[in-house]
């Protein structure tokens, strides 16, 4: 059997194991080791198990991942999310659909100190949903805006997805993180416009809340200075070249802890809870990374990605046709499987293709993040929708899926904007030292 045939069989086996509900990390590990054994023999396959996991788990570049996760959970336990929502509430709440707009803005703000979409969505859900219910917002709009807004957590830096993409493709993590700033802002605006359009059409979805006084507005805005400081330290440090991404992440985590203690909002119980959630998420992410490593080794050995890249480059079609075909593949895959696994599984295959076609690797990273965002809310497997559904248990999934539609449209608009003007992603990274 040729290595290419083995790699195709490997893909089928992987899909079957994932559909049989085996944890995705384990499925990738089994197929990776089995495939490597089929091509190069068992001693080679077992050698990947010997060196791989420990080396990967003790890699300094990856330290940034648990630290960003820790920072996000600490900020959540310290109540920083409440302040963000309040600040957005006083400026936007009096508009039609204003609380949903405030939720999206709050998510973008929280995304600036948290690198995970699920954590951003879950945190803002507990803060914003009760308030939207108080003003009788439609369940579809209130849950939809949180599920979609939560995905801003991975676009606005810090972002775990950018970090993983950077490690896999050997691109600068600092540049990748900065590349998410402008698209994140534009996406937030697109979400707000989507809410304005939807509520203009169906005003009953989100009635305006009373207007806040100037005093209230200024006080609420002043209360979020900690978030501003954390963002400035973490992202400013990376942008200005003052600190490595891992050091910046450590400053972020220690800073969030210090603010939480100083505000007396972070209790002992909250700290332990943050540690608990951090290590669980870390173990989950790294098990997938280790599984993807083993699978990636098998893929590289089979030469499949290189042959695919060569084959697609030789096709007489315009590069953007191939690019959009890849994007559509991602959207379909993202709707069916976990986004982290999808990235780790597919980037080694598609990245050589995309760079061979002449696309910028940093720009492609931003495109990947947008398609991951789409996958996080698109039916039938939208992780963020599941998380919000798990918190708002009385809201049927169908209602949440109906609610995310305007935001899905906004994400597709963002993809089109990025395709038309790559500078949106590349402007800030190009200015870095």
């Amino acid at each position: 059997m040729s290595p290419i045939t083995i790699s195709l069989l490997g893909f089928i086996a992987l899909l079957a194991l994932i559909l049989a509900r085996l944890p995705i990390a384990a499925a990738m590990a089994i197929v990776g080791v089995g495939g490597t054994a089929a091509i190069a023999g068992w001693p080679a396959a077992l050698a990947t198990l010997r060196q791989g996991p420990f080396e990967r788990a003790s890699s300094y570049t990856l330290l940034i991942i648990p630290l960003f996760i820790f920072m996000g959970y600490l900020a959540s336990q310290a109540g920083l999310s409440q302040g963000l929502f309040r600040a957005a509430h006083v400026w936007l709440g009096h508009r039609r659909g204003g609380l949903a707009m405030a939720t999206v803005a709050g998510c973008a703000g929280f995304g600036a100190i948290c690198g995970s979409s699920v954590a951003t969505g879950a945190t803002m859900c507990s803060v914003a949903l009760p308030e939207m219910r108080r003003y009788r917002y439609a369940d579809s709009l209130s849950t939809g805006c949180i599920a979609a807004g939560g995905t801003l957590g991975i676009m606005v830096p810090p972002s775990i997805i950018f970090v993983l993409y950077g490690i896999m493709t050997e691109q600068s993590i600092g540049k990748l993180l900065m590349s998410g700033v402008l698209p994140g802002l534009v996406e937030t605006l697109l979400f707000i416009v989507a809410i304005a359009l939807v509520t203009a059409w169906w005003p009953s979805l989100g009635a305006p809340a009373p207007r806040a006084t100037w005093g209230e507005a200024l006080r609420a805005t002043r209360d979020i200075w900690e978030v501003g400081v954390l963002f400035a330290v973490v992202i400013g440090g990376i942008y200005g070249g003052l600190a490595t991404p891992a050091e910046s992440a450590a400053f972020g985590a220690v800073g969030a802890l210090a603010f939480g203690l100083a505000r007396r909002r972070l209790t002992w119980r909250g700290l332990v809870e943050a540690l608990d959630q951090t290590v669980r998420t870390t173990a989950m992410v790294f098990f997938i990374v280790i599984g993807a490593d083993l699978f990636g080794y098998f893929m590289a050995l089979s030469q499949m990605p290189m042959q695919l890249a060569a084959g697609l480059s030789a096709l007489q079609v315009k590069p953007f046709v191939v690019l959009w075909a890849i994007i559509v593949t991602y959207i379909v895959l993202g709707a069916l499987m976990d986004e982290l696994a999808m990235i780790l599984l597919t980037v080694p295959i598609f990245f050589p293709v995309v760079t061979a076609l002449g696309y910028d690797p940093i720009w492609f990273g931003v495109v990947i993040v947008v398609v991951v965002q789409i996958g996080l809310i698109a039916p039938p497997v939208g992780l963020n929708v599941f998380v919000i559904g798990g918190i708002a248990r009385d809201v049927p999934m169908v209602t949440i899926y109906r609610g995310i539609m305007p935001f899905l449209a906004a994400m597709i608009v963002l993809l089109a904007v990025l395709a038309a003007w790559p500078g949106l992603a590349l402007l800030l990274p190009s200015q870095m030292r």
Partner: protein, 162 residues
């Protein structure tokens, strides 16, 4: 069997939280190192290499707890339609498969530890011995495999009781 699973979850949580405190320590160490280097030009020697070794502990110390609390991502697109009993059996079988994989990882890591022990392997710059780090990490991986066995047995017991 259920109480064994509950006990295992409880004790592995302590181990995972231990790893969490280590992570907090690494964060503080990294901040101190960066500040001392920037302002006093006197970085803390060994921070980089110690952080790498401690990171492996953070990750693997949390593996048993994460497995026992269903923290790993899986897709129940198809299996969600099966009967509760069938789903419980599938959970059990999958936990056994995970136990085998982590068992293999632990075994191979153990061989690596033996190799590091024999050659007195250290980190490159600060010459920190790797053995004291890789042994607990290997033990945690083995414990994660055992955790999955406990989870599988509990699932099978639940399925039989239905």
């Amino acid at each position: 069997m259920r109480s064994l699973e509950a006990q295992a979850t409880r004790w592995t949580r302590y181990l995972a939280l231990g790893g969490g405190w280590v992570l907090l320590g690494v964060a503080v160490l990294t901040v101190a190192d960066a500040l001392l280097r920037k302002f006093l030009s006197r970085p803390l020697p060994g921070t980089f290499e110690a952080s790498e070794l401690l990171l492996a502990a953070v990750i693997f110390f949390a593996m048993p707890y994460t497995g026992l609390t269903d923290g790993h991502v899986s897709v129940d697109l198809l299996t969600g339609r099966l009967s509760p009993r069938a789903q419980t059996v599938i959970v059990g079988v999958n936990a056994l498969v995970c136990a085998v994989i982590l068992g293999f990882i632990a075994y191979q890591m153990g061989l690596l530890a033996v190799e590091y022990g024999r050659s007195a392997r250290t980190t490159i710059t600060m010459r920190i011995p790797i053995l004291p780090f890789i042994v607990p990490v290997t033990a945690a991986a083995a414990l994660a495999a055992l955790g999955f066995v406990v989870q599988a047995l509990a699932a099978f017991a639940r399925a039989a009781a239905r």
